[in-house]
Amino acid sequence: MPKLLEVKNLKTQFFTQDGVVHAVNGISYYVNAGETVAIVGESGSGKSVGVMSLIRLIPQPPGKIVDGEVMFDGQDLLKLSEDELRDIRGNRIAMIFQDPMTSLNPVLTIGRQITEALELHLNMNKDQARKRAVQLLEMVGIPGADSRLDDYPHQFSGGMRQRVMIAMGLSCDPQLLIADEPTTALDVTIQAQIVDLTRRLQDELGMAIIWITHDLGVVAGMADRVIVMYSGFIVEEGNVNDLYGKPRHPYTLGLLRSIPRLDLGRQKRLIPIDGLPPDLLEPPTHCPFAPRCSFVQDKCWQENPPLVEVTPGHKAACWVDISNVQVQVSAKEEAAS
């Protein structure tokens, strides 16, 4: 499959009064056309900054993309002029955000906000754009689409607003849709609806998706590959089966064990990962996860492990091979229950 997006050594920092925030520390990954890649990690791990850097949406200043390449369809997005990049934003790469309550402009009608991109990128006139906007709203399952175009965002529920955001994102038929925690602000049943909707639309339209979440559970049924981020680094990357079945990074293991599972019975409590998230002002010279890691060794404090392939297509950044340890843990758990 051709690579649609290839990110190489992307580094983004924020130059604040307190010091330099090392939000993204040289991450590399790729997304194939039509593929779904999930990025997971606790909040503050650099997921949003990482993807917003792709289309240079981070506030500059204080933010700055200090290094890296973002190859999209053969061109480096970081080298494009603002004008050239604007042709791609909202057109070939669309983005939807976490909080549908605040991501829509409160004083403009939904119609205005959807047609804007159509008129801009597809050169439609007002009538065409409006007709297309109705189709889009129908496509994302908003009842009475025609009359709702003249409504304002506050007249929609949270789930409906996120549908509007999706309609807006898909309006120009993008090759890549970046969804930054699109379901985090919604309640569980609505979350499932939005996930289903996105999957259906992907089948119809064939775009690639980068789906960000801090919840591995949401990802399981939807992603082809998963990227795990911690402290601005990619610490593990692999396809869903490998990563869920044989996690190779203690942080991923921790995340997996913090998913509430119905099949584990009542007495099994959720196991949160101990310790605080890392301080991004001090770029660590050791493994960033070391202070919280139960497998930590001397070497972990001396050098930050590189991301290396552990089995074909499965990468991890850890000095310790935890594949055996993990089996033991599961065996112990089974014995205990």
Partner: protein
């Protein structure tokens, strides 16, 4: 909306009523008044003379009675129902106070039945509720307050409208440009200047300008012949004057009026620009941080559209409050600036009235300003619901 409006109107009436009552009471207990001057001039003023003067200004009446007479022009005499007089012997005031030797209290009450004779309605007003503010007592004794206010209104409106328009035209782009270019050199310079500008007392720039363009202008012209001498006060001159050696201005000409406007307008504009552009800057910064601005950028809109279409509208919404509160100021004027430049407007009239205890003027001024303020607040709330679809009443 109708129910809301009715409720609001009802609240407004109460607010105006309470404010007027409160002001009336305050003026009643405030020291000063028509008698102070007299007492200072002639040390030996007999109790009878004092009583006569007090009666002349209706000060012999109790203040609640004065208040109702001021408000609705009542009571003017006994209540007549079916040919019968009621409450005729209720005291409405005290004409002559008893001396301590006589045991204090009142020596001669004003009874309701005496009101038509002692205080004919023509001397006070028919009540402000019926549009009569009474007459000026000191500033221009005998002249109807309404008339006096009307004669001053245009001078104030002229000053305020010109500086409002100027201030808006300067402040809005300035605040927005500064916010959009936050942390730039321009932004730092601007914020510093605006901070200084808005923290100086208003008379500072007034006096500074008078110093530069009137007091020291002659000396400045020795060095820079183009330095203008500007008229420091009033609305127009009474005799010809020289702005520069080559420019003589005739009184009453458009140029004369223009020159008189320059300094007061500049002072008011500086002050508003400093305050408003700071306000707009922070409002704009707040909006630029919002998620929907990021959404607009993610759509690929050019920055100009992001600012003008998505951010500006939201940033201007809170500015409505400031704008509508200019409405009462159109009437009330700028007290300090008008006084510094001897501008014959409302603000200065109020200042004079307070100084010389001309309470009919001061009360009328406060009353009208209060009404305009509550009306402006309502107007602001209605405007909010027009520009912000989230707000519905």
């Amino acid at each position: 909306m109708t129910a809301y409006l009715i409720r609001r109107l009802f609240q407004m009436v109460i607010v105006v009523f309470v404010v007027s009552l409160f002001m009336f009471f305050l003026f009643n207990i405030a020291p000063g008044g028509p008698l102070t001057g007299l007492q200072q001039q002639q040390r030996r003023i007999t109790p009878e003379e004092k009583a006569r003067i007090r009666a002349q200004y209706e000060l012999d009446l109790y203040w609640p009675v004065r208040y109702t007479r001021w408000l609705v022009g009542q009571p003017q005499g006994p209540l007549v129902i079916g040919g019968q007089e009621w409450f005729a012997n209720v005291p409405m005031g005290c004409y002559l106070e008893a001396t301590p030797e006589e045991g204090g209290g009142c020596a001669d009450y004003v009874y309701l039945s005496e009101m038509p004779e002692l205080h004919p309605p023509i001397k006070s007003s028919r009540g402000i509720l019926f549009g009569d503010f009474g007459n000026s007592t000191v500033v221009q004794a005998g002249r109807p307050v309404w008339d006096l206010l009307a004669s001053r209104l245009m001078a104030t409106v002229e000053l305020q409208v010109i500086s409002l328009v100027l201030a808006l035209v300067i402040a809005i782009p300035l605040g927005i440009y500064s916010a959009v270019n936050q942390y730039s050199k321009f932004d730092y310079t601007f914020t510093t200047a605006a901070f200084v500008g808005s923290s100086m007392p208003t008379f500072f720039f007034g006096l500074l300008f008078i110093l530069l363009f009137t007091v020291l202008a002659g000396r400045a012209q020795e060095v820079w012949p183009w330095w203008p001498t500007l008229p420091p006060g009033l609305r127009e001159a009474v005799r010809p004057y020289d702005v520069a050696s080559w420019l003589r201005v005739q009184p009453g000409t458009p140029l004369d009026r223009f020159l008189h406007l320059l300094m007061p307008v500049a002072v008011l504009t500086i002050f508003s620009v400093a305050a408003w552009s700071r306000f707009l800057r922070s409002s704009m910064l707040e909006v630029l941080r919002q998620d929907y601005v990021r959404t607009a950028r993610a759509k690929g809109l050019v920055e100009r559209l992001v600012i003008n279409k998505h951010a500006l509208r939201n940033a201007l919404i809170p500015f409505i409050t400031i704008l509508v509160l200019q409405i009462p100021i159109f009437f009330a004027g700028a007290i300090v600036t008008e006084t510094v430049f001897a501008w014959p407007g409302m603000g200065r009239l109020y200042f004079d009235a307070l100084n010389r205890s001309d309470y009919n003027i001061a009360l009328a001024f406060i009353y009208v300003t209060t009404i305009l303020t509550v009306v402006a607040t309502l107007l602001g709330d209605i405007l909010y619901s027009v520009v912000d679809p989230r707000i519905r009443y």
